[in-house]
């Protein structure tokens, strides 16, 4: 009798924490998204149906933020995979100091995104930044580059910072995948006369697919919430050129006190993450089976 209930007892405290801190708020947020509820007035919440969502999709700034988020997710993740693959291939080779190098490569991933953002905002500072100084010294540029204050450059610069920080994660997952490929496969290919380029395309890449899929999902999920570096460096500016979904929702709710409207925005963000998690669950269930 006791045995039958034991697993429920073990799982209960954790589930309770999740229900209170995540489950209930998601439901409440969905509910709030149908209300007009402005904390800066003393009006009680009033039910307005889908009006918040209509307003949301009619807001050009929301559409901009959506676009920037997509650009950010697609560009940064593609670069992280390309760079991560190159580094993983290097770190898989056998040479002295390889393990130390693996440890060093991981450091950016371990840093708080807030700290990473500060580090780069100092290096790329328009006036005192060492990067602009160095580029001027070697004669590559004649006047300082406005990394964060130009509307064309701010988002690409933020993407670069994310690539610097997150590539180690992608690299590590790919490296683990590479190490799981049996050496005998490469040997067989060599005997059949395949060069290293061909074995890369026909053995390495196909066998890396499962690890790459997980890394891709995890990175997409994290990149969708992209907030920290934007908040530290540009706060969505200049001229909204770096506004993303998370900063948009944060400004509307926590700074603008529009809790109903803000909830509509966060519900959309949740739904995007939810779609990702369905893909993820299918991936895991297939593996567990």
């Amino acid at each position: 009798m006791l045995r039958r209930f034991a697993p429920y007892v073990y799982a209960f405290p954790g589930l309770l924490l999740l229900l209170v801190i995540l489950g209930y708020p998601i439901g409440r947020g969905f509910y709030l998204s149908f209300y007009k509820y402005n904390l800066s007035t003393f009006d009680p919440p009033t039910l307005i149906g889908w009006a918040n969502y209509e307003k949301l999709f009619a807001d050009p700034l929301f559409i901009e933020a959506f676009k920037h988020t997509i650009i950010f997710v697609v560009t940064s993740i593609s670069l992280e995979f390309a760079l991560g693959m190159m580094i993983a291939l290097l770190l898989q080779l056998d040479f002295k100091g390889r393990n130390l190098l693996r440890g060093v490569t991981l450091l950016p991933w371990m840093m708080a995104p807030v700290v990473t953002a500060f580090v780069w905002s100092w290096l790329l500072n328009g006036t005192y930044g060492i990067v602009n100084y160095a580029l001027t010294e070697v004669g590559l540029i004649s006047k300082p580059i406005e990394w964060f204050t130009s509307t064309n450059l701010a988002l690409p610069t933020l993407i670069f910072i994310d690539v610097w920080q997150s590539t180690p994660f992608v690299m590590l997952v790919l490296l683990a995948g590479l190490q799981n490929i049996p050496e005998s496969l490469y040997e067989a290919a060599r005997i059949d006369g395949a060069g290293s380029v061909r074995s890369f395309w026909h053995i390495t890449l196909p066998l890396l697919k499962p690890s790459a899929a997980v890394a891709l999902l995890m990175r997409t999920m994290i990149a969708l919430r992209f907030f920290d570096a934007v908040w530290i460096i540009t706060r969505g500016g200049p001229a909204n050129s770096t506004e993303v979904l998370a900063t948009y929702a944060y400004k509307k709710s926590m700074l603008g006190f529009r809790m109903g409207f803000g909830s509509a925005a966060t519900t959309i963000i949740f739904l995007l993450a939810f779609v990702m998690s369905i893909g993820y669950i299918r991936l895991i269930l297939r593996r567990e089976a």
């Binding site: 429920y8 954790g14 100092w122």
Partner: protein
């Protein structure tokens, strides 16, 4: 030059580039933290400080920053402990040692919880924390950050527990061990590498978190280092670069120390998390 030497030369060339790309930004901030303000904005910039000063660090400990550092540490340690207690129990429940009706549904709930972005829950949490007087408190912060880190920890521990051979636990069960006895006396003692990696990843997640502390902390009572950094780092001018560099270095140090000692476990945990979901 033989082909082998050429190959090795190329490898070390790439390795050097990789090290410079990774370390130079951090080293530059470290150097900045030892410079006086006048030297930081001097032109042309000095690579190495002319006069090494510890003012940026000592000034920090004379101001509220010592409280922010203390809060970060308390929240990180207590939050990690909470996640580990709940995560070990839950991970055990979801592992292969139990089969029960609601197991799959509960596991799917954990996976979905892992995907929930913080931004999606801050508005209702704001009301919840206000109602229970937990706004601007370490307790509230610990509960929220623990809930965010809990799903991944549970999942990692579950996959590790799944690798424990049934033969060992069966012997203990026959000897009359209850299920909690099997966990404490048989599984946990051989799972310490798993626990080490989960502790590392959980502590990093909580220590580095930003959006939730930003929304829910206000005073020296609960504000953490990342929030403190964000308040003074925004903008091109008038920023105290020396002071900020010192705070950034202090925020990085515990993380790098952990990385140094736990790199093996960190890698193992990350890899397991990625490969097995």
């Amino acid at each position: 030059m033989s082909r082998k030497t050429l190959r090795l030369g190329l490898i070390y060339f790439a390795a050097t580039l990789l090290v410079l790309y990774t370390l130079l930004p951090i080293i530059w901030v470290l150097l900045t933290s030892f410079k006086a303000e006048t030297e930081i904005v001097s032109f042309p910039p000095h690579v190495f400080p002319q006069h090494v000063t510890f003012d940026n660090y000592s000034r920090m400990f004379e101001t509220d920053y010592r409280y922010y550092a203390r809060n970060s540490l308390i929240v990180g340690v207590v939050g990690t402990a909470l996640v580990m207690v709940l995560g070990i129990a839950s991970g055990y429940s979801y592992s292969k040692f139990f089969t029960y009706k609601a197991k799959n549904a509960m596991m799917i709930f954990i996976i979905i919880a892992r995907m929930v972005p913080e931004i999606a829950v801050i508005i209702p949490l704001y009301f919840l924390m206000q109602t229970y007087n937990l706004y601007d408190s370490k307790t509230g912060l610990i509960l929220m950050l623990a809930a965010m880190a809990f799903p991944l920890a549970t999942w990692l521990l579950k996959t590790f527990f799944d690798d424990v051979p049934v033969s060992i636990t069966e012997a203990a069960t026959i000897d009359g061990c209850s299920s909690i006895g099997v966990l404490v006396r048989v599984i946990l003692p051989i799972s310490w590498p798993a626990i080490a990696s989960t502790v590392t990843i959980t502590f990093l997640t909580i220590w580095n978190s930003f959006l939730i502390p930003l929304v829910f902390t206000k005073s020296v009572e609960s504000k953490t280092l990342p929030v403190a950094i964000s308040e003074i780092a925004y903008g091109e001018y008038g920023v105290n670069w020396g002071g900020l560099s010192a705070i950034a270095i202090i925020t990085i140090v515990p993380v790098f120390v952990i990385g140094l000692f736990a790199q093996k476990y960190l890698t193992a945990g990350l890899t397991a998390g990625a490969e097995k979901g």
